[in-house]
Amino acid sequence: MMSENRLRRTMLYVPGNNAGMIRDAAIYQSDSIMFDLEDSVSYREKDAARLLVYYSLRTLDFEGIETVVRINGLDTPYGREDIKAMVKARPFAIRLPKTETAQDVLDVETLIAAEEQKNGIPIGTTRMMAAIESPLGVLNAYAIATSSKRLIGIAIGAEDYVTSMKTSRSPDGVELMFARGMLVTAARAAGIGAFDTVYSDLNNEEGLRKEVELIKQLGFDGKSIISPRQIAIVHDVFNPTPKQIANAKMVLQAIEEAKAKGSGVIALNGKMIDKPIVDRAMHTLDLAIASGLIEDARTAMEVSNAR
């Protein structure tokens, strides 16, 4: 179930010390769940949250949904303990907060590798994500994105960043334009995922929709979300339209036909189809299958065959 290419449109934040929310995290069908040991847990409860997330990951069934744990930074007294516990608890990935340099990633990776070795877990099993939340981090985005093979993606955390930039968040997000552009470009250059920051006004569904439309257009894979109520809107924005799906299916068919003819040239309606179009069609169909817009097992199979 856990793979490099799976969709990550929504990554649901779950406070690490809330037993009820952890238990129910899987029912909302976000693409990933992110258990948080960092900002949502007070200093006095860091030990409790670590144990709670540990036992929950070891015991509960998250129904195949990808699990991520956001740990505390190594500059805190909690980061090392978090890594010890979480490598053993075996989420799909560990997410670093406030990453500023490639070295930040490497430092954590070293500790992860040591714990993997100690626990007899194959080295490299634990994947990583890095959250970039500062001007320095943004400028180092490419170096960070290429620092470790464990990285599945980089994410932008906007609150600290805009404060450091001596500005604040606005509805159209002009203050994040550079950071978002930098981040998504770095991620694409490194061949990993790019994830947008949270939208914290829970009651403003229109605002959320606009922001998701923006980041989708910029090229992001998805977004961290703070409530299950945001899932449907984000997925909806990322859903391909019926026209896009029909187009993608035609591209797929053209590939099949070309294969059958033994031809290396793929053509649709008399026009040549090159690789970017094929890739885009595949991505469209991935999205459509994930959102249940097409459930056709045949299509799903064809998509994987065509790869």
């Binding site: 037993a19 238990r23 030990d47 409790a48 144990l51 709670l52 036992y55 929950s56 015991t59």
Partner: protein, 99 residues
């Protein structure tokens, strides 16, 4: 492992639904005070888990007060271990002890 000593009162968990609050106090021998909304259905199992975890941690003397609001077993374990470490004044958990 070396037995853990209860040095001080340690509390962990909350009284929210699906959580459990554990209070550990100095005591001679192990005693469990259980108050659970699912006592009739799970009282015996809760006591069993508490004893088992204490044994695993080598705790021989403790009064354990369990105020359970319907916590799953994994929550009970997490809260209990947190409380024991807190009352023993230890910050670093020996993760190798746990499954």
């Amino acid at each position: 492992m070396e037995g853990m000593k209860i040095l001080d009162t340690g509390i962990a968990g909350t009284l929210e639904s699906s959580d459990v609050m554990i209070t550990i106090k100095k005591h001679s021998g192990v005693e469990i005070e259980l108050n659970s909304i699912v006592e009739k259905q799970f009282g015996r199992q809760i006591r069993e888990v508490v004893r088992q975890v204490l044994e695993q941690l080598g705790v021989k003397d403790a009064l354990v007060v369990v105020q359970d609001k319907g916590a799953l077993e994994c929550v009970l374990r997490a809260r209990l271990i947190t409380a024991v470490y807190r009352s023993a004044g230890l910050a670093e958990v020996q993760w190798e002890v746990f499954a």
